[in-house]
Symmetry: C2
Subunit: 348 residues, 2 copies
């Protein structure tokens, strides 16, 4: 129950944020800079030359070149990436929360009683202030009704259908188009150098698995996230895995290294995140006896994306920023380091 409250309070601040949303301007009409093609042999084409790109390239070369003092065997080349705010945008709220709201609206015709019943009435009326007044209990209902109570494969189908049509409220793009082109190139670069690349995110495992493999080229079994409880049942001779309306594991903060150890069983040598929720994962990685690399995406681009850090209700980066400075971790400064933010800016 405590962990559920923690999770919900997380979502709740997101809601507050959504409600009183004062996000900085976002601008799709930023000049369409033409970086070199993503597929040419030069790594990281959408990254500007500079310390950040050079640090990444130097690291990868030093641990992969045969005979290097810092060489890491392929079996130990584990790289873990947070997702929200690290591989795709997370403003003005986590994409998964928009899914929950959209899902409630889609389910509403089968639930005429929701018109007069909170928290559903507020969701259906787009009354986010009303919804936030329902508190944690109301939010819990929204999340559990939209994420639990169906078979695992049905849920994934619902997410997949949503992802193929739902539009981001301010960017007016499909959510899956709001991934970071430079980070896609980084994933590719690591994969080309025989790193096993994992997502280790606070987002829902099955939510991500439904469509994230396709956009990042990361196989299902390397997508790790938060989970709700499930149950195996045989009904009418057919076995099924049913999603229950209760949280089982929150893959955030110290949950990240714990899940990495449980599921991967090898300490990463490369980890990337964007918030204090990723700090434990980066600390765990930094304790590797192999040469290791810790990377923070610092959201500093109020023009092309969003700018937020220490005071943000979502993706708060405060302790992490201090520790990065203290330990010499690499911090991405988006306007300085990235030629483009999203793939559609490439104009291909």
């Amino acid at each position: 129950m405590i962990k559920m409250l923690k999770y919900l309070s997380l979502l709740f601040v997101v809601f507050s944020m959504l409600h009183s949303c004062k996000q900085k301007a976002t601008n799709d009409s930023s000049p369409s800079i033409e970086p070199s093609s993503r597929y040419e042999s030069e790594p990281l084409p959408s990254w500007n030359e500079g310390e950040t790109k050079q640090a990444i390239v130097n690291y990868v070369q030093s641990v992969t070149e045969t005979g290097s003092a810092d060489f890491i065997p392929v079996s130990d080349r584990i790289a873990t990436f947070d997702n929200d705010g690290t591989l795709w945008s997370e403003q003005p709220a986590y994409f998964q929360l928009f899914f929950a709201l959209d899902r409630i609206k889609e389910m509403a015709p089968d639930h005429p009683e929701w018109k007069d019943e909170e928290p559903f009435r507020s969701v259906l009326d787009n009354d986010l202030e009303g919804l936030s007044k329902q508190g944690l209990e109301g939010l819990m209902k929204v999340v559990m009704v939209s994420h639990g109570g169906m078979k695992s494969e049905e849920f994934k189908t619902q997410v997949r259908e949503w992802a193929s049509t739902a539009m981001h409220p301010t960017k007016k793009k499909l959510y899956k188009d709001l991934i970071y082109q430079p980070m896609l190139e980084l994933l590719d670069y690591l994969k080309q150098n025989d790193f096993k690349v994992y997502i280790v995110s606070g987002g829902g495992t099955d939510f991500m698995r439904a469509f994230v493999t396709e956009i990042y080229g990361i196989p299902t079994e390397r997508i790790i996230g938060s989970r709700i409880s499930t149950e195996f049942k045989i009904e009418n001779g057919k076995p099924g895995i049913y999603r229950l309306p209760e949280l089982e594991f929150i893959d955030d903060k110290e949950g990240k290294p714990l899940n990495i150890e449980k599921i991967i069983g090898i300490k990463p040598v490369f980890a990337a995140g964007n918030s204090d929720g990723d700090l434990a994962m980066l600390q765990w990685t930094a304790s590797n006896s192999y040469k290791n690399f810790e990377l923070y995406v610092h959201h500093t681009d109020s023009i092309r994306e969003w700018a937020y850090d220490r005071e943000s209700h979502i993706g708060k980066l405060d302790k992490g920023l201090d520790e990065a400075a203290q330990k010499g971790w690499t911090v991405i400064d988006m306007p300085k380091d990235w030629k483009v933010i999203y793939p559609f800016e490439l104009g291909n």
Copy 2:
């Protein structure tokens, strides 16, 4: 607590079994038949020609040949194997239980009080009857003291050291030598055909990971098992994952398909087990819309290994045997299907 009791009762029957052990004769001096080398191109050299081998080869060919009506894309070629009794022996008790007993003896010099304190006194005196009198609570102490209370990496070092020297009580071989040569060849055959091969076992994840990658050639992240709870802590600036003396997840019965869905996220097309504890995993696999294969190892070899099934306290195969017959699953008859049991019989 309920699941802990379940798990302990499982171990408990093993203890009873160990105590009143009437295992059938095992005979290392069985004629050293020379199968063709494990590495030649003909698959499954230690398998006798016959229905079982043919069924496996037919299946693999039918789902991997381009243009076949039953072709399965590489990303969906997931194969899951139980471990105890399926890939290595499990008599007269699970190998992990011998580890627990040996570990208590090794720790004893630091715990002089154990000489007068149950359940440790019984373990130190090799008095298994005395130990079984301590009931579940006593057994719980033995398991938790030997498996919890240390850092994750320390535990793996302890297991690795044990595995490199500890001898099986009746076979007088290292435990890691008591793996099934024909199953090793099956793992290889599937891997050569681009199956992702996983272990999904009731045994402890970290216990297996400590030395099982080496003997089966299965990477750490594809070894799934039961787990105790863990905690992430930073002490003196050093992050560590600490094993707590409590069970977190039991990877047995319906726990197997649940864990497969949580960790792999794809329904297997091939599954192998040897007991009713594997039945849910086989049922889940059998519900795959791809052509699928379910395999049971039936312990019928009282001469070279052990013979047990419906009445056994360990590796009980009763419902599974009925369902296999009813659904036409493949059941290995060890004396008939396997030329040798263990790799050392090859005489290489």
